[in-house]
Structure formats: structure tokens, C-alpha cells
Symmetry: D2
């Protein structure tokens, strides 16, 4: 007998809308019952569009609503932890867009609330739901390439975000590289023990003005002995670029692609293809799949695929990368362990 | 001001279900109001799943229902033409899976009914809605590769269909190559004037037993002078294979791909990737887009993108290919013109 | 104990020079002993360049020279057969650029002379020596893709040759498609029994003025039942294009590539690579390997890899394609059998 | 008026033989006049094979020979510097396989001798002569991708070298990564100012036993501000892997490939290609081109394309990488400047 999970979406920006739409018509065993957004017009419009009766500008109302079983948090980053804590205390299962918070203290507070309440918390690292990355992970687990020895990972945005975004983003490592931190940790299936980073401001002086960097290289040593290297840039000059190469004792796996359509043009000036532009196109299906997985986690009772601890671990790696840039030396991860909290 | 089109889906097999799901939650301006399927259990299940109140085993009821604005016909091929005629007489707009019918006489009868009733008829050639093919068509129209000179097109199924399917399929040319006939005609933007075909039974003697072939090469000469060659096989041995190369005076466009995921495995035995398995995976999004387009055609009042005449033209090409194989000579298309009917 | 084969090159045009260079420094067991070219300056220059003492404008002298064991014929096509006959009568082994002659009667005369003299004749179909095609052939022979069912082959030149070349070329089928005829026959490992062709003049009216075509599609049925389709164009608009797809009962092999260098450029306008320009670049190594193989054939005493009969068979296919275009019907190869001559 | 350069090859191992063959028959304006190898049989055989009269086991004889204009040094690494010094003092132009020496002091001594003598010294970094890398360099110089911001470079050997080789190799950084150091420095067209490295022994405990590592990541900061990351492994598990990605303000260039032949096999288990096995196959043509370039440098009088200073700079980067691994901190290159030594 299947059960229907009644879900409220908190925050109806670009990603929140996507999740609402997924819950409304594309997720078995789920019902979208309510929408909250700070902007009244936004909340009303999306509710009308998806034929949902309940909308509000106040997330707290929905968290307290007994007709809501679970919440999907897609509001601004600074509201993530307070909403997690409130939802946990109200006994709701929680899907939260990354990051839980931009600092470890707040993150730990949210995780502690979740643990105390015994609810489920799943963090939205989209890459874990990408068909390509899932296949690579399955291949690794199956032993196809032997023991993991090193990982090369890159992510580049097509163009820098606006200044207003950068100012509150938490910086390159916490905002952008955090996806890569989670990715290499997940693929390596081992905890990072040491991080060394080099960074620069090459793309736009704006980043330096805001105390940020726009280009970086991060080396990671894992408990297993494996090494990883991640390089990021806020501007590729050609499109969105997410690729990962995993090298093992028996072979390697490369994940990623550049093409948006399967069309190749051959003319006198050479052979050319188009390029996938940005993350919404690239991870379109992953956004659907992560929400479906969250609902399935609740229905089936299994633990979340991407836990609060996973979100915390990636943030700790960002802390270490920042420290390494600041102190110009390799940093051990141990000092960012949760132990103390 | 947007209008909502109330649609009934007639036939809830593999494709019918797909269309019903698209109409239920993924198509702006559309409402799925009813489902018909000859199998009661099937009709009831899909209606429950999509929360549709009205279901029936009798398509005629829905065609007569004043709450239905348009029908999507996805039932068995032999029912297409009768349903088109009935729906046309009832003043409903019609989306019909290819083919309209397996013979020209019946096809013409259906088209005549549509014309008399002044309703819209759109035929489901999925390739026209594929992102890759659409981009190629747009590139051609833009003049990127100059004047079209020749087209190489191939389609191969991963494995032969069951005997029961083959027996009533209408044969390789009407059932399978018909997609390619429509495709090259659409890309060439010119009418075919001559067809020459060579065919064989190499994959499975079953085809010969049923008076069919499983491997073929069809050459086409267009009014514009351009040539096309289409080759088909009922079994590729590796997966689904649909690719088209268009050569113009200024360059070429290649459409198609083999990969299902963007993962490349490199091991001691070489470099390898997976392969897209079958048409439902390959054209998944195209199935969504063709239904959305149909709804948009109705709402906007523009003519259908793929008309009954297009469906007829592809069938005439199949007739010519069959005649060429039978008579071992090139066949002129003129003899299959609609004029006489 | 290794033996040194003393070779004279007859004809020092583009290809002749290439062969001379290969023999001079890159072929074990071979010594380039003499060069002939109708143009005195050409002969003298290449001899000086390669430090060869003997050069002449008269090939006959070299054919009669007892210090010459074998000849490489790379002079104009109309001289091929007379030189083969003279060399055969003088007891020399012969490597001859394709074609032996532009007509079957002359071809048969040359082959008969070779047979009577008991010398070796090897024909220069460069594709047989290409690393890619050789690998594909080996894979086929190993059974990797099961029984061959169909072959798709294409060759396109970057731009039409000059009028003077076209006028004496023998036409598209004997001059250009002949490479494809040899290729599909070799890969299918079966004799062609029926050919059907469609052709047009789309690239340049010059071809029609000279009674030739510039675009064609040729369908072939082999004794084994397998089908092949070959399409050619005198102008691709982007570069040299030679590719072959071989489909078997267990899978497929694709041979060919477009890139000249392994560089990919990714910019705001997409992803692009360069393109191999013409056959000398594409088959550079194959030209070396075919000459090395010829020398090895002589030294080892094994039969030539590409015989006079192979050259004749490809020409017979060209005859059949021409007849099919002319008579607008499929043509059986039997009528071009050597028997009668 | 062209001049012939008379060259002696010192050391006839794998690479020495390759160079000898290139000089014997494939290099305009060059004459191979003598061969030296410590092993008498080796020297005699290669001389016989290439029809060279002069061979010896004593390189000194050839360096002193007035009939020798230039030497190609391809003997064991420890002999490079002494031979350079002797050849310089004898006034010969010098091509030397990388590295000049395994330490900076000896390297500087050799460079000083060359400078004092006013002869030319060219160092054999094969990648600089690879068609792909040359094209990328030309594209960078032309401004196609704007200002260089970051470079990702990787090199992996198919399998570890034997213990005997490793023992005297100078270690991963001086022996293997040195190619990458030269490559990124050349492409960045800027001097490195800071290096940070992480390394491990993951492939084979032998490396650790010999005080070496087998897996490494090196981050480089250039004077221009650009960053580079290099990762190396002594074993890829699939074949030889050399690839470089260069990211600029206007786009990116990717250099490298995996395939040995242009054959793709498609079977029920996926799509697969072969893989280039090792550096001799991958850089085959580059080995020819670097020798031709050396001869052309002498004939034309222009400065060497890859100078002694280039060889030294790459070695200094290896020193810095080693220091970074040892001291676990980023290392400034300034301390390895030649000035002081």
C-alpha cells in the first residue's frame, strides 16, 4: 500500500519553482499542498499555475500546518538553518537546498535539531542525482576501475554572478566549490584529511574587492590515501563546465560532456558543436530525481541519500581550503571536526 | 488571455500513457479530462494514477463528449482512421500517432474527413520534435550549410520486434522507414520525385516468412535535385541508432548520438561508453514536446507543424520503395499522388 | 638472410615522389635505384634530392635495366597498362597506382601479361593500408561483429578537381568511387552480384558538360546476401571525408575521423575542432605502408595483398554503376566477368 | 644555397635509434655521419642498418671528429652534461635529450660551457613538437582564447617502469613531471613564481622504498597571475594519457586524445575504441620534427626553439615541487634562480 507524502515548498525562486513543479505532477506518492514565498505575487502566481489552494508569505504557518508532512526549503541561504530547526521541531521531514548554512556553527545547530527531533534531512547536491555521476558511482562500487587513486574535478560557470550575489555568497569555496567537495568525497568514499589550496582573482576585480577569489585549485588527500584535485573558475568563456575524472588501479572513468544538442556542424572553418549553457540545463533531470528520491526516502523509511553530515563535511572542506589560501600551507581537516559542538 | 484545451487520450498503451502523463502535469493550457482504452483495467489504472475522473473502454463516448475539445489517438493502428473520421465529424482537433493508416486509400479518406470538418490534424512524427533535429532544421533554414545536396539517414532498432507485431506492422517501409521518409523530406524541404530501393532478409527468416524484409537501402531523388539515402535494419546488435547527415554546398550537419550517459570508461581493454537503448529513451523529451506543440497549435490557431499531408507523403514514399523492391527498378512518386482519390 | 629489392619509380608526380622517398629511406630491404619522369627537370631534381645516381625521362630504359628488380608505376593513368605489360615481359615485379586502366579490356590485357610472365602485381588502394581500416578488417575476421549484414561507406572530396583532371578522369565512378568499391568488397569479403545507382550533377555544371556526375549513391548486393551503400560527392564544403560503418549480426564497427589535430577549442560560439583537409594528409602513413608491404611481398614470396584481380573487380563495379545510372535499373555484375575477354 | 649538417648520434638506445633513423633518411640538409654506443654490437648493428661507415663505443672520438658538425645526445642521463661540455668545447652544436642533468649545479655547469663556447644547445621536450600542442600554442599566441587564466595538465604512464629505471630516474618530478613543467610554462608564456605539491605512493610500494612517489598533484602560480595544476601517475591502468586544458578569458583549448586508431566498435556491451599505448606511439612524429627543427636551427642560424634555459627552468620547478612535498608548504621559485649558483 503506497502512502502519499504532503509537501510544502518554502521559497519559490528559480529552484523552488522547479521543485514545486516536480512535486505537483512528476512525483509518485507526493502531493504538493502549499507554497510559501516572501513575495506575495510570486507565491500566488505559482500556486495558481500549479492549482494549489494554499499559499502564504509566511513559511512558519506551513511548518505548523498538520496537513504538511514534509518541507522543501529553497529560500535564501540565511533562512535555511532557522527553517530546518523550526521544521525539525514541528516533526517534518526536510529537504534543504545546499548549503545548510554558510558557517559550521549554524550548520551544527541545525543538524543537532534534526537529530534531536528524529526527522529526516536531505541536502540538495544536484550532482549526486545526475545520471552520469550515478553511473560512475555505481561503476566504482562494482569495482570496475579497482581502488581509487586520484580524482580530477572541475567546475566553471559560464560568467560571473552579479555583485549582489557574490557579496552574500559566502565566497567561491562555500558557494561553488562546495559541490565539488561533496562530489570528490562521495566518489572517493573516504574522508578528506588534508587540503591545500591556491587561489587568485583573475576574472574580475570585483571578487577581490569583496574579499573573494574567482579562480582556484584545491588539492585533497583522503584517509584512503587517494588524492583529488579540484579547480574552479567563475567564468569559462564558453559555457557551463562540470567534469570529473576518476582514476583507479584498474582504469578510469570520465564523467561529463559539453554538448547541449547532438548536432555537429562541419563547415570550411572546422567542425563545431554547441555547448550546454548553465546548471539548470545541465542538471535539469537531476533536480527532478532528487525530489523524487526525497519522497521515496520518506515513504520507504530508508535513510536520506545525502545527509546533513554530508552537507557539513563539504562545508568543512571549504573552511580548510580558505585556511590554506590564507595561511599558505596545507590544512588538516581534523580541526574542523564536529566533535566540539 | 490563455485558454485551456480539454483533451481526451484514446488508447493507453506505452505511448498513450506517455501522452496522458504529459497532458496531466507538464503541458500549459491543457487539461487531461478523460482516458479510453479497450482494456478496462488499463483505463481505470491510468485514470486513478493521474487523478482523472472520466475513463471508458469506448472511445466513441469521449469523441461525443462536449467537454472534450481535442483527442490524442494512440490506439492500435487499424483504429486510427475510423477515430480520426469520427473525431473530425464531432468537430474535435486531433493528434494522431503515426501512421494515419497503412494504406493510401484509408489515409485519404481520413484526410478528406478532416478537411471537410475544418478541424486540425497533427501527426506524431517524434523526430520532428527532437532537440537535435530541430536545431539542424533551423541551421538549414538559416542557410548555414548552403543548398542541400545530399542526405544520409539511418535508423536501426536494437532487436527485431515480436512476430505478432511484424505480422500486422505493414512491413519495414510503412512501419519503420516511414520515420526516415518523413525526416529526409522535411530536411530537404522538397518533394521526392523518384525512389529506388534494395532490400533483404538477413536478420531473421521470420521476416521473409511474413513477406517482409529486415534490411534495406532506399535512394531518393528530390524535386530540388538533391539525393538522399536511407538505410534501415531491424537489428543493430548494439542499441537504437538514429542518425542523419545533411550535406550542403557550404558544409554539413550531423545529427545523432550513441551515448546514454556522459560516462566514459577507460580500462586495459580500451575506452568505452554505454549506448542509448531504444526510442522511448532517445525521444523521451520529443514525446513531451509534440503534445505541447499540439496544444499550442490549438490555442494559437496556427496550422499543425506536421499535417495529415505530411503523414500521407511519407506513406507514399513507402509505397514507392515497396514497388521498387518488387519491380527491381526506380519508381516515380507521381503515380501515388492524391489527385485521383 | 634478408635480400635487398632494387626498385625504380616510374613517374615522379605527387604520389611518385612520395613512393620514392619511402623507398629511399624508410623501407627495410629496399633500395631506390632509379627514377623516371617525362619531365627532365622533375626527374633530375628528385634524383638529386634523394641521392640517386640514375634518372631518365624514358621509363623503358629502367624497365630493361638488369639492376632493377621491381618497378613502382605512378605515372599518368593511360601509361599504367603499357608499363605493366612491358615490366611483366621484362620479368619485373610491379606496384601500380590505381587504376590499372580506365577500361576493362585494357585491364584484362595487363593482367594477362602479368599472369603469363609469372611476376607479382600489386595495386595501390591506399585505404587497405590505413591503420583504421586494417584494424576494422581484423576485427571483422576475428568475428567481433558476427556476420556482415550491411555497410555504409562515404567519400567526399573537399573541392572539385580542375576541369582538365575531370576530363580525363574516367568519371566519378572509375576515378573516385572505385576506392569505395574496393573497400566494401574487401570488408564484405564477398563478391558483388547486383548494383543500383542514382547520380546527379549538383556541385558544378562542369561535370554535366563533361558527361560526368558529381554526386552519387550506389547500392550493392553481395553474394553473401549483405548490402552496401556508397555515397560520393566531389565537394564536401568542409574537408576530406572518408568514413565506413560496418554492421554485423553482433554489432558494428565505425571507421573514420574528421580531425587533423587533437585540439578542441571552446569559445562563446561553441566547441570546435579542425578537419583533415585531403587524402595526402589522411592517408600519409598508408602510402608508406603500401610500399613497405610491396617490398615485403617480394622478399617473402607471399602473394600481393591487393592483386590485379582486385583492381579489376572494383572497375567492374564502376561499369555496373554507370550502366545502372544510364539504364535506370539494377545491373548484375555477371555481365562484366572476365571470362569472355 | 642549402648547407648539409653532418651529425653524430651519441647513444643508440630506443630514442637514439629513432633520431639516427630520422637523420639518415627523413631530414633535409642533414647527413648522419657516425654513431656511438657503449654497447659495441648495438653501435655496429645500427650503423649497418643505416649504411653509416663510422661507429664507435667511444663518444669522445666523434666529438673530436672534424667531420662532425653537430651531435645528438641520447645516451644515459648521467652522461648528458659531460658530453654537452665536451661537445661545446669542441665547437659542436648540440641536441640533448631531456634532462640536461638531474641536478641544477651540473645543469648550470653545462649551460655555462655552452654559453662560453657560443654553440647551440637544444633540449628534447617532445611535446613542444607535437602537432596538437603546436596548434594550441599558435592559437594562444593569436589571442583566440584571450588572456590565459588557468591550465590543467595531466600525464599518466600506462604502467610503472622497472625498479632499475626508477632507482636512477631522479624521481617522479625530475623524470616525468618535468615534461609537464616545461609544457605549462611554455603555454602560459610566463615564469612560475610559486609551487605547491601533494604526493603519495599508491601504485606500487617500490616507489616508497626508493624514496620516490608515484602519484602527485602540483599547483603552480605564474608571474602573470595565471594558475596551473599538473597531476601525474606512474600507472593509468588503461594506456598513455597526456592531455592539457588551457582556459583563457575568451574560451579554452583542450589538447590530447585517447585513440590510437579511428575505429569505433559498437556491440551489445557498449561503444568502445582502443587507446594509444605509450609515448613512442603518441609522439612518434614529434620525435622526427624535433630533429628536423634542430637541423634547421643550425642551417638558418636562428636560436634553438627549446633552449638550455628552458631545460633548467623545468628542473627548477621539479626542485620546488620536491621541496613543497618535503616541507609541506608552497615554495617560491626565486630560491632556485641561476644567479647565485
Amino acid at each position: 500500500m503506497s502512502r502519499t507524502v504532503r509537501v510544502a515548498v518554502l521559497g519559490a525562486g528559480r529552484i523552488g519553482k522547479r521543485h514545486a513543479r516536480t512535486l505537483a505532477g512528476q512525483t509518485p506518492n507526493a502531493e504538493l499542498v502549499a507554497i510559501a514565498d516572501a513575495n506575495e505575487q510570486t507565491a500566488r502566481d505559482i500556486a495558481a499555475d500549479l492549482k494549489i489552494d494554499t499559499w502564504t508569505t509566511d513559511s512558519a504557518t506551513l511548518i505548523g500546518d498538520p496537513n504538511v508532512d514534509a518541507v522543501v526549503i529553497a529560500s535564501s541561504t540565511d533562512s535555511h538553518a532557522p527553517l530546518i530547526i523550526a521544521a525539525a521541531e514541528a516533526g517534518k521531514d526536510i529537504f534543504c537546498e545546499k548549503p545548510i548554512a554558510l558557517d559550521l556553527v549554524t550548520t551544527d545547530r541545525a543538524i543537532t535539531a534534526v537529530e534531536k527531533a528524529g526527522v529526516r534531512l536531505q541536502v540538495g547536491f544536484n550532482r549526486r542525482y545526475d545520471k552520469g555521476y550515478r553511473r560512475a558511482k555505481a561503476d566504482i562500487v562494482s569495482g570496475r576501475i579497482g581502488t581509487i587513486e586520484s580524482i580530477r574535478d572541475t567546475m566553471r560557470d559560464p560568467a560571473p554572478p552579479p555583485r549582489s550575489y557574490v557579496a552574500i555568497s559566502g565566497g567561491l569555496f562555500r558557494d561553488m566549490a562546495i559541490h565539488d567537495f561533496d562530489c570528490v568525497r562521495w566518489l572517493a568514499a573516504s574522508e578528506p584529511v588534508e587540503i591545500s589550496a591556491m587561489a587568485a582573482c583573475l576574472v574580475d576585480p570585483m571578487f577581490a574587492e569583496l574579499g573573494d577569489v574567482d579562480t582556484s585549485i584545491v588539492s585533497v588527500r583522503f584517509e584512503s590515501g587517494a588524492l583529488a584535485v579540484i579547480d574552479n573558475s567563475r567564468r569559462s568563456g564558453f559555457g557551463y563546465d562540470v567534469r570529473t575524472e576518476i582514476f583507479g588501479s584498474e582504469g578510469a572513468l570520465f564523467v561529463g560532456f559539453h554538448r547541449d544538442t547532438p548536432v555537429t556542424a562541419l563547415t570550411g572553418s572546422g567542425v563545431s558543436t554547441d555547448h550546454v549553457y548553465f546548471f539548470l540545463e545541465r542538471f535539469d533531470q537531476a533536480y527532478v530525481d532528487e525530489i523524487r528520491d526525497f519522497v521515496d526516502v520518506i515513504v520507504s523509511g530508508r535513510p536520506p541519500s545525502v545527509s546533513g553530515a554530508d552537507g557539513r563535511a563539504a562545508l568543512a572542506m571549504a573552511y580548510a581550503a580558505e585556511a590554506s589560501v590564507r595561511e599558505r600551507r596545507p590544512i588538516e581537516l581534523a580541526q574542523f571536526a564536529r566533535g566540539g559542538s
